[in-house]
Subunit: 185 residues, 2 copies
């Protein structure tokens, strides 16, 4: 991320980024991750390999950026009219997505090609934003709400820690229980 | 880890493992991580490169095994006579060790060269064992104690998640607060 220059939307920089990300996604599907090389991605994206090296450093950093793009939430959390229901549902979906083979692969890529931790920070910021949306909605309804960092500690952290370090027996029920305990204990 | 054959203590297998681990540690200190190669490690350890490839797969898996060795606790947690004090102190030390540049580098290595998650599982098992020791000691003193998995969720998971994904403002006081809340809320 630190190598990425300021991006002017619609400028050449944005077009290059989109072409390269698309090339990575297509080639991952076609030839698989282990076979992927920078020259192969460059050829598909219509840029020179040195454009990729200059901007991303190496293949692992590029894969990290692509992974973070995938981990960006596409919509705000569903609104069920009550924080407990919102958080329970969101926690369960978050666990399902992150613990899926695809989710694990992206999380791994995001961490691996990210020596300075910028992409890991982005992943966490996405989760914090989703949590913040639910809490603000609940506060607007007059509910008493914990702060974002508490929900990160109580729900997001255990889910992510267990996926990475202690994956046995991870279920939707576990995620829902974490959400309940974050609000009631 | 899956490549590692059953090790007979004192047998050739153990001697090779010790020699190779020692070579990695020495060379990391002398030439630094980025310069490390399998042939270099093999030469220092007095084995052939193919011995290393056969046993560890590649350099990253070898580094992952060496990292996990470093993350293994050297002693049981200090006994302060009361669970709250034991857990507060342990949480603070755990955070300090894991968040240090060395701790972060080992955690990263442990995760990266570990596609099947065995080494990550070992790291978590080490933490669970330390927590289990404190809880068993407290139960023996007649204290009421939570279960190991609760302490993992409430103390270990937030510390590890924040080190990896959300490292701003991590302090000993934060770790101590997690320990207090795990026992009182």
């Amino acid at each position: 991320m630190s190598r990425r220059p300021m991006v002017r939307p619609g400028g050449r920089s944005t077009r290059v980024q989109q072409a390269v990300h698309t090339a990575v996604r297509e080639l991952q599907a076609e030839v698989g991750r282990p076979e992927l090389t920078v020259p192969m991605v460059a050829a598909r994206a219509g840029v020179t390999p040195s454009t990729i090296y200059r901007r991303w450093g190496d293949l692992q950093e590029l894969l990290s950026d692509v992974a973070v793009e995938h981990l960006r939430p596409e919509a705000p959390p569903e609104d069920h009219g009550r924080l407990l229901d919102d958080l329970r549902n969101w926690a369960e979906q978050f666990l399902e997505e992150m613990a899926s083979p695809t989710g694990r692969a992206y999380m791994r890529d995001a961490l691996l090609g990210d020596p300075e931790g910028d992409n890991a920070g982005l992943c966490s910021a996405y989760a914090a934003e989703q949590v913040g949306t639910m809490l603000a909605r609940a506060a607007g309804r007059g509910e008493e709400v914990p702060d974002v960092e508490t929900v990160i500690d109580r729900v997001v952290a255990p889910v992510m820690y267990r996926i990475l370090f202690r994956p046995d027996g991870l279920t939707g029920a576990y995620a829902r229980r974490l959400a309940e305990e974050a609000l009631t204990r």
